[in-house]
């Protein structure tokens, strides 16, 4: 029971992080039908920007811990969004009219570029986040002690996802995003500025990814320059589980993958944890590429 509760909460916390990253994949895919390979690197960029603000700049020294974290998060989200916007502008927009696979290769190139830029700027070694950001206390849940940090991470991702949920379902811009995802041509005819929708998606996705980067730094205490690749692949798996292009699916897929990993690591094997995730990715893509939520759609000949 102890292992179960610990892994349940841990899985949900990590799953929330996966979900935040997966949202970036799924929103871009929904509009552009493009897997944004560089998205995982934007997440890593966010983690390093957070490191710079918290450690190198030492925001905690100027403000209180709480305010410093808040300022860091806001700045990281803004800078990641900017990086996402530039990425779209430079690497994807010129390829809007060319064939899909050219855009995929360009995305791959951008991802390689970002990862190596991060390595050159911040060095290849592990970097540590401040250990004393959150008080080292535990909460009691079902008779178990749960670290506060775990609760904060999970709560943050849930709040952000709820905000996004309302944005997508209740606002005009959210409706424009959903409409463009279903049929870009029709959306254009209805007077929706699809270029703006694309820009918005490339701002929101990376902002969420950057936030997730900071959360990983705070949660695990250390970051590495190639973390974007692993987390990117896992978040993509989460997006695929929920049906890529499906925003609610990405949230559910992220949490689900977090749980699968946590329980897989605890009850099957820690060493094979990542391999289990990749097997899930392969099996879902082969058996049910539209994800677990969506109906199968017939392909037009």
């Amino acid at each position: 029971m102890e292992v179960f509760i610990q892994q349940l909460t841990n899985g949900l916390a990590v799953g929330g992080i996966y979900a935040l990253i997966a949202l970036g994949y799924t929103m871009v895919y929904g509009i552009l039908k493009l897997i944004n390979f560089a998205h995982g690197e934007l997440f890593a960029l966010g983690a390093y920007l957070g490191f710079t603000l918290l450690v190198s700049v030492g925001l905690t020294g100027y403000f209180g811990t709480g305010a410093a974290i808040l300022i860091t998060v806001v700045m990281v989200m803004g800078l990641s969004a900017l990086a996402g916007y530039l990425l779209e502008r430079v690497a994807y927009r010129p390829l809007r009219k060319s064939d899909r696979l050219s855009a995929v290769v360009s995305a791959l190139g951008a991802s390689i570029f970002f990862q190596n830029a991060i390595m050159l700027i911040w060095d290849a070694r592990y970097r540590a986040y401040p250990a004393d950001l959150l008080p080292n206390v535990t909460l009691s849940f079902a008779g178990q002690d749960i670290p506060l940090i775990r609760v904060v991470v999970l709560a943050t991702s849930v709040v952000i996802m709820l905000l996004l949920y309302f944005f997508i379902n209740r606002t005009r811009m959210g409706m424009a995003i959903r409409a463009s995802a279903i049929d870009q041509g029709a959306a254009k005819l209805m007077g929706i500025d699809v270029r703006r929708v694309i820009a918005i998606v490339f701002l929101i996705g990376p902002a969420l990814g950057g936030l997730a980067g900071v959360m990983v730094g705070v949660y695990y205490g250390q970051i590495n320059f190639n973390m974007g690749q692993l987390y990117g692949l896992k978040a993509f798996t989460a997006a695929i589980i929920g049906g890529i292009g499906n925003i609610h699916g990405a949230m559910i897929g992220g949490l689900l993958l977090g749980l699968v990993e946590a329980f897989g690591a605890a009850y099957i094997s820690l060493a094979w944890r990542d391999a289990i995730t990749f097997c899930v990715l392969i099996v879902i893509l082969v058996v049910r590429p539209t994800g677990i939520l969506r109906e199968r759609v017939a392909e037009k000949l």
């Binding site: 493009l34 897997i35 430079v90 690497a91 010129p94 390829l95 060319s98 064939d99 899909r100 696979l101 050219s102 855009a103 995929v104 290769v105 360009s106 791959l108 190139g109 951008a110 991802s111 390689i112 570029f113 970002f114 990862q115 190596n116 830029a117 390595m119 050159l120 690749q229 692949l233 993509f236 695929i240 060493a271 094979w272 990542d274 391999a275 990749f278 097997c279 990715l281 392969i282 893509l285 082969v286 590429p289 000949l301």
Partner: protein
């Protein structure tokens, strides 16, 4: 639209062919002219990449399948040789067919369920496969792969009593195998088989509708590429004498993918050029070694925007009609 072949251009072609032969001969005599061991090693590394990229070219360049897990097949070949050699003390060249076979069987197992997948999904799945293989190697699967330290003490290859050990020996072995691979792949490309792969790349629905068994051809392209990567694994294992999971990472696959795409997918000369650019050129600018992947990442983006077909795109194949048709339709 219709290319004409005038006597002048055929003379020019002979010159070009002659220059290529002289160039190749000069290349193969490099060790004789006292090229240092360091540069020979660089050329050997380029050669290994080149053969791997040529085998990937069949899958990615000709059949148009976005496969980014080629390092997995390379790893299966190298580990097969290492295990057979260190455990059973088989001579290196005796392990080679088995290395190719193991990689080929592995390809059938992993590729059959995924060849239907769309380009971008296939890319993701093949990345997943190469990672799974690496994790399996690190976890010392079947107790044979030696975990993250890998396998040490692999023997040198012996050919007709001659022990291949020095860089110049490997130079001849690697580039000889590269030349053989290019010849065989050239023939393969210029056959019914190579045409079928091109039809699939152009439009796989139309290819199937014209009677091409697209599933079988896609799978067999994977198998040929894998078998060849397995052969290269044998050479690599005996050259390094020590192999570990680190040599077969995701980045190895990325580099091979880049060689084919940047050089010109579907064109052997393009792939060869790509191998020199991506694995050779950085050695000339050692100080900039760290910027290598940064530059190539940016190059991929720029290439897709300005020249998506690669530096040397494949030419349309030239056919010579048998007589009397050749006279009738110039």
């Amino acid at each position: 639209m219709i290319a004409s072949i005038s006597p002048a251009s055929s003379k020019w072609k002979n010159w070009l062919l002659g220059a290529q032969i002289v160039g190749a001969a000069a290349f193969f005599s490099l060790p004789q002219f006292g090229l240092g061991a360091y540069w020979l090693d660089v050329l050997n590394a380029v050669g290994i990449s080149a053969i791997l990229a040529l085998s990937l070219n069949i899958i990615l360049g000709h059949a148009g399948m976005f496969h980014m897990g080629h390092a997995a097949f390379f790893a299966v070949g190298a580990y097969t040789t290492a295990i057979l050699n260190t455990r059973l003390e088989w001579p290196i060249f005796a392990t080679m067919p088995f290395a190719g076979m193991a990689a080929g069987i592995f390809a059938v197992a992993v590729a059959s369920p995924i060849i239907h997948l769309r380009g971008d999904y296939l890319l993701m799945v093949t990345i997943g496969i190469v990672e799974i293989v690496r994790i399996a190697l690190i976890n010392n699967v079947f107790g044979l792969t030696g975990g993250s330290n890998g396998i040490i003490g692999i023997a040198r290859p012996v050919l007709f009593g001659f022990r291949i050990a020095r860089p110049q020996h490997f130079f001849c072995l690697i580039w000889g195998f590269a030349a053989l691979s290019m010849l065989l792949f050239y023939w393969l490309e210029h056959s019914r088989y190579g045409r079928a792969l091109k039809y699939i790349k152009e439009d796989s629905v139309a290819a199937e509708g014209m009677g091409v068994n697209t599933d079988r051809y896609k799978l067999s392209a994977f198998v040929i590429g894998a078998v060849w990567a397995g052969f290269v694994g044998t050479i690599y294992a005996s050259k390094m004498r020590t192999i570990s999971p680190g040599s077969f990472s995701f980045w190895e696959s990325v580099v091979l993918f880049m060689i084919v795409i940047l050089g010109g997918s579907g064109n052997q000369k393009g792939v060869l050029l790509g191998a020199f650019l991506v694995s050779g050129l950085p050695e000339l600018f050692r100080g900039l070694q760290n910027y290598r992947m940064l530059v190539f990442g940016a190059a991929l983006v720029l290439m897709m925007i300005f020249r998506p077909q690669g530096l040397l795109p494949p030419k349309t194949r030239n056919y010579t009609l048998p007589e009397p048709l050749a006279g009738k339709f110039p």
